[in-house]
Symmetry: C2
Subunit: 216 residues, 2 copies
Amino acid sequence: MASPTPPRDDRPPRRSDGEQTHAAILDAAMRLASIEGLSSLTIGRLARELGVSKSGVFAHFRSKQRLQQETIAAAAEVFEREVFAPASTAPEGLPRIEALCEAYLSYVERGVFPGGCFFAQLLAEFDAPDGPIHDEVQVGQRGWLQQLEEHIGIAQRAGDLDGDVDRAQLAFQLYAPLELANFLATLYRDPSLTDRGRSAVRATLAAAASSDRTST
Amino acid sequence: MASPTPPRDDRPPRRSDGEQTHAAILDAAMRLASIEGLSSLTIGRLARELGVSKSGVFAHFRSKQRLQQETIAAAAEVFEREVFAPASTAPEGLPRIEALCEAYLSYVERGVFPGGCFFAQLLAEFDAPDGPIHDEVQVGQRGWLQQLEEHIGIAQRAGDLDGDVDRAQLAFQLYAPLELANFLATLYRDPSLTDRGRSAVRATLAAAASSDRTST
């Protein structure tokens, strides 16, 4: 049967089409989950959002659980690209800590996800209920705090931060204003509230600066 | 027809029965919402949790919206009783700020809600989606921050806190560790993580203390 379409070798391979659709669904899924929460992310809800059939979305993920897991993985790639990658060019220690905090606040300020930080949402949503996503959130949060602690240790050995400061406590104090800045900037539709986070990080680092450093 | 039940005048009035049931449903609703989120709180979900019929719960609330609104109001009463009331006996200014932060951390530590602070959950859930609950969360958050700011102002006039410190910024820096302590204590099932919040509040207040006060 004659076909009006161009010869097959001129068209993008079928697999790439499917991959593009898959990526577009995941993109909508991340955006939706950042606003409404991952628990609200059903195949039906997503199909309605995309204006496609439920069976079309179902064919890509087969279950709500797999859809949720792939959405988290896709959001982790965005976080890697938007926060970790820009910060990774800063020297280790104090500059890296400052770069990580700034990269996070910039990612919130630029509205990378329309509902605010995907992982702050995920923390609040899955802090209490048991299950595989709760376990994944625990691992992610531990990794984030450990990364801060690691560079606090380097900054202490370099004499940039007071060696007596408790690393886990300081990491907590740097993380807290980032998290609240995200929630309040989202709540009040006011990206400039990330500046409260910036001032808090600056004040916390200044208070933890080694007295050798501040006196010179 | 003879009845084995005691004479009617010995039993509690019917209205009180209904009120007790209503309160018991709201109690379960608050607990459930603190774990799974208010959006998951449907009449059907709540009936399943309580092991009663959907129509039995429906008769009390008539709509998901009313159930959610009454649940928020009931949780606000709990917050009033567990956080604001104990703190209100402290003198205004710096002691009140310390008492408010301590009352909040104690409320988290004691697991008043099984899924952590009801209103931290509500903030994360309704920061992004438009609607009446979003608006209510804005008002609640503003009230909480304004209460902190008000007592920061009193503490500044009393010479307990540095008069040059930005009140809104300091309120933000006191609030941030409370919020993160709540999420991490819930995530790691470790109430002792509220101590990170306590240390952070102490450090923040010490940094904002007026130099007159710290030098005497």
